[in-house]
Amino acid sequence: MKPVIVKQTKAFLKVLALAVPLILSAGAPASATPEDAGAVAHDSATVTAEASGAHAEAAAAPGAESGHSEKPGDVIMHHILDSNVFAFEPFGEVELPKIVVGGFDISITKHVVMMWLAAAIVLIVFGAVGSRYAKMTPKDAPKGLANAMEALVDFIRLDVAKSNIGPGYEKHLPYLLTVFFFILLCNVLGLVPYGATATGNVNVTLTLAVFTFFITQVASLKAHGIKGYAAHLTAGTHWSLWIIMIPIEIIGLFTKPFALTVRLFANMTAGHIVILSLIFISFILKSYIVAVAVSVPFSIFIYLLEIFVAFLQAFIFTMLSALFIGLATAHEGHDEHEAEVAHH
């Protein structure tokens, strides 16, 4: 077992060894933008923010705050938003490569890097666990990491997929498991110092929700056929109501992924904004007492809450995806039948 992990770790290090110089060389010119220059200029104020290295930049705010009241907001936004710079203050920054293909800006941004990090961790962990399971006979008991992951996998399998989708849940299981662990890792990595929350970006959550949307529609089409799918859009009502029902049902199709998008994005963003805002209270009021009595304890509390929310939101996204797939496959036929009975 151990050599496999070592091998995988070595492979990962090789990839990293290849990737890191590439990224570093791409960002070598370090063409500092005016905004960055401002941040560097205020580095002298970092002494006050030694509590959290990740938020060292926050110190820039009170220094420049005298004139502009929007400054804390800008700094918070700087932490929440995606950027082409990966800041490791006070150690420096890594300029990430800008790639433009056919007019589309597909640069490797901070959130892309965090996403890849999450993907790498998921791949390493489950590569190891999967290879262990591949060698296991039904008589062997899982141990250690495999056992811990099995609890989560089995939870998703039985309590999320099987109970919501019903028969034929095995087909959707790989998607649900991947989306759960991917979102979970993205959420958790956002809580690590210097990290950024990829799932706190609306583009990332939108893409994931669109995956769920397509899978739901394909599952619905497969389960009912084109005729049944079209019949569902009328919700089984009288034809005179179709002019109202069809737009409503079509809007209903899109509200589900929209809700998924906003829920995950807003939850992940809100927590960070609250933590940063709590820290900024002490800077705005320029008081150590407020910092000790309010900012630090409250931000620690919110931080712990965020750890819980990271798990909860990953679970909810997976749960709702499973629920939508289940609704699209099994229960629609039932509803339709009921509607038909009511109609006659």
Binding site: I99, D105, S131, V204, T207
Partner: protein
């Protein structure tokens, strides 16, 4: 706090970023495909196999229990049958013994009766024979007496006296 409103409105938070959408899609699909092959396949198969194994173990245990119960029932039945059989044999033996005993006693009694009867007959025969012998002797004696009477005298008195004395003599002799 006015800033929170400004944060939302100042843009950026909801601005679309096609590059990020592209990278998310690519990363997610790659992760999904790799994990499907590398992890979910083996893990789910192993879990299902284990579930099946547990189910079959439970089924086997149930069937074994049923089998054991049926064997126990059969054993009990056999035991009861054997008990009845042995009881029957003992009873039969007893009956046979009783019969044999009564038969034997009956036979013995009959034999005894037969023997008694035979003995009685023999006694009767002996008695007859003895009487015959006696009769002959008496006849002889009478003849002998008559001879003596005839020999001594044919006087009536003396003859009478002689016969009397002889008879007396005889009776005293016999007694």
């Amino acid at each position: 706090m006015l800033t929170s409103g400004i944060i939302l409105l100042s843009g950026g938070l909801l601005s679309p970023n096609p590059g990020l959408i592209f990278w998310t899609a690519v990363t997610f699909v790659i992760v999904l495909l790799i994990l499907k092959k590398l992890a979910w396949g083996p893990i789910i198969t192993a879990l299902e196999e284990r579930e099946k194994g547990i189910q079959s173990a439970i089924d086997r245990a149930h069937s074994a229990k049923d089998e054991a119960e049926s064997i126990l029932r059969k054993n009990r039945e056999t035991l009861a049958k054997a008990d009845a059989e042995s009881e029957r044999i003992i009873r039969e033996g007893k009956e046979y013994g009783e019969k044999l005993r009564s038969e034997m006693t009956e036979k013995a009694q009959e034999e005894a009766k037969k023997m008694i009867a035979a003995a009685k007959e023999e006694i009767e025969q002996e008695k007859h024979r003895a009487l015959d012998v006696l009769r002959n002797e008496v006849a002889d004696l009478a003849v002998m007496g008559a001879e003596k009477i005839i020999k001594s005298s044919l006087d009536a008195d003396t003859q009478k006296k002689i016969v009397d004395s002889m008879i007396q003599d005889l009776s005293s002799k016999r007694n």
